[in-house]
């Protein structure tokens, strides 16, 4: 069985101050730490679990500049069998579907039984690439999957729905599955794995220039319209005011 996983290197902005750069269309990146997109890390784990169960090969692919190889190396260290980087030079203005087109051009002459992506990227939050890629390749897909089983050449998946429900559906293979966080426990790379990964080759591919149907005009920090009463002072003063407030609200 041949499995592919699409990985994205993203800035870790969970606790960082995000600033808009001089172009007004991107963020200032030079002071940020970068990491594998969270949902992609779960997608990678799902692929590695399938690899162990079905004796599969796992090929990792990322679209990005040279440093994107960091996430490919990490994937190789965890057990990926091959890796490829599609350079992002000249495709900076691609939208979600544009990025899917770049990936589709790479996948077109290759054969995989399963293609995994993360369900959503933590930077743009687009959640478009997986299903768009599937459509471009003429494959069925399922988005926001937290559980997957391969049975008799079919993929049986559970998709996360709102309100604590799951949808169970069956897909013919080959197919594209986008993985939501939380369905498995991503492993850590072993020291041995990291050593081995350092020596593995990473295929280099040039991007296919694609046309985007949407254009980004600007990004900006939203005004936090807050009606909240801010409780200020020293820690003791804040605690005292909060305690009084909790008492008023019947919690003490």
């Amino acid at each position: 069985m041949e499995i592919a996983v699409c990985l994205k290197r993203v800035p870790d902005t969970a606790e960082a101050d995000v600033k808009v750069d001089a172009t007004g269309k991107d963020i200032v990146r030079d002071k940020l730490a970068f990491t594998i997109n969270e949902a992609d890390n779960y997608a990678l784990e799902e692929a590695l679990l399938a690899k162990e169960k079905h004796n599969a090969n796992v090929t990792l692919v990322s679209v990005g500049p040279k440093p994107a190889e960091e996430v490919l190396r990490m994937g190789l260290a965890k057990g990926g069998t091959a890796a490829a980087r599609i350079d992002s030079e000249g495709i900076g203005d691609a939208d979600g579907i544009g990025l899917a087109r770049v990936l589709a051009a790479w996948f077109k002459d290759k054969s995989f039984d399963l293609i995994f992506t993360g369900a959503i990227a933590s930077d743009d939050g687009n959640s478009q690439v997986g299903p768009a890629l599937a459509e471009l390749l003429g494959l069925p897909h399922a988005a926001y999957v937290t559980k997957l089983d391969i049975q008799n050449g079919k993929a049986v998946v559970k998709r996360e729905l709102e309100g604590g429900f799951l949808e169970v559906k069956e897909l013919a293979t080959p197919c594209v599955v986008t993985i939501q966080t939380g369905g498995n426990t991503p492993r850590y790379a072993s020291i041995m794995g990291i050593k081995r990964a350092g020596a593995k080759p990473i295929d280099q591919a040039a991007p296919t220039k694609t046309e985007s149907k949407t254009q980004l005009t600007r990004v900006y920090v939203p005004e936090v319209v807050s009606a909240a009463e801010m409780i200020e002072g020293s820690i003791e003063e804040k605690a005292a005011k909060l305690a009084t407030l909790l008492k008023e609200k019947g919690a003490v």
Partner: protein, 321 residues
């Protein structure tokens, strides 16, 4: 001007709230054009009356393939319909259903797509759409310059407004949408529970990424107990396996409306806010003054929860003594 189509989202026989949110947004958008609700269902007659007041027309597409949501027959029907009717825009929810459909529908229609839209305007054939990035820390403005535009609309974002348009119901035949199907809906099941029901508690303490490590859990567990609250969490805490799925607050977890919600180390991503903004009083503690949680909170403390909670517990003990 061309119509704006809204895909009616329904699950297990009921129209979901996001449908009325989208219809409200579409009515404000379609200057000069009609709002057409597109209803794909096993039997449209059962659901059309709920939708008709909110749209100029309801395009009813009945068939067994539409009983439960499955993007594949939905997409086939919508591609045929859009090719025939040439709408200016198609709105689908940025929901579990809509996210499975929107991107592939846009590709199939060779249309521009913006997902997770929170605001949009129209000038003739040009749609300007705003959406969040970096978990709400930034807003991005996009333009879709040609029709049709596919816009995936964030849930619980637009406030649904009443309407009395008395939309005409038109039956439309999608033809064969099942031949060559590669996907099959099997069932909807409930996430197994261990018996904690956070929707029943009047006081809820919610923890988020700011809790940092599992070893910090006892601090907030004891605090919750001391103020008679149940402990709930945002997605990252549940994904890490520190608390069970059934205490997750948000669009993919539970929606709660307690009298008091204390958010500790929760940034306030929209998925979380959708599940708790109905609380009577919201107190938020977060060390980031720009955290979106402060825009829904009634009271805010900009500080580290690991400092605030121990100090607060001391004050509560003094108060009780």
């Amino acid at each position: 001007m061309s119509d704006v189509m809204v895909l009616v989202e329904h699950r297990q026989g009921a129209v979901r709230d996001v449908t009325f949110e989208m219809l409200t947004a579409a009515r404000k958008l379609a200057t000069g054009g009609n709002v057409a609700a597109v209803l794909l269902a096993e039997n449209c007659d059962a659901l059309a009356p709920a939708v008709a007041p909110h749209a100029n027309k309801v395009i009813c597409v009945s068939g067994p393939a539409f009983k439960d949501f499955n993007y594949e027959p939905y997409q086939k029907a919508l591609v045929k319909l859009a090719t025939e009717r040439k709408p200016g825009a198609i709105l689908v929810a940025n929901s579990a259903f809509g996210s499975d459909l929107g991107p592939s529908l846009a590709v199939a229609l060779n249309a521009g797509l913006v997902s997770d839209a929170v605001a949009f305007t129209r000038a003739d054939s040009v749609f300007s759409v705003s959406r969040g990035m970096y978990a709400g820390k930034l807003v991005a403005d996009w333009v879709i310059g040609a029709e049709p535009a596919v816009i995936m609309v964030r849930q619980s974002n637009f406030k649904p407004e009443p309407a009395n348009l008395g939309g005409t119901v038109e039956n439309w035949d999608a033809g064969d949408v099942v031949s060559g199907a590669k996907t099959k809906f099997i069932s909807i099941e409930e996430v197994p529970t261990t018996g904690i029901d956070i929707t029943k508690s009047t006081i809820v303490v919610g923890i988020g990424r700011g809790i940092k490590e599992a070893k910090n859990l006892p601090l907030v567990q004891e605090f919750a107990q001391e103020i008679g609250a149940v402990l709930a969490a945002s997605r990252p805490v549940v994904d890490a396996g520190w608390l069970p799925k059934e205490v997750q607050v948000g669009s993919s977890g539970k929606t709660i409306k307690p009298k008091l919600y204390v958010a500790l180390g929760i940034s306030g991503a929209f998925q979380h806010v959708a599940g708790m903004k109905g609380a009577d009083t919201i107190i938020a503690v977060n060390k980031d003054p720009k955290a979106p949680i402060f825009s829904v909170a009634n009271y805010g403390v900009v500080d580290d929860l690991h400092k605030v909670v121990p100090a607060l517990r001391t004050k509560i003990k003094e108060m009780k003594a």
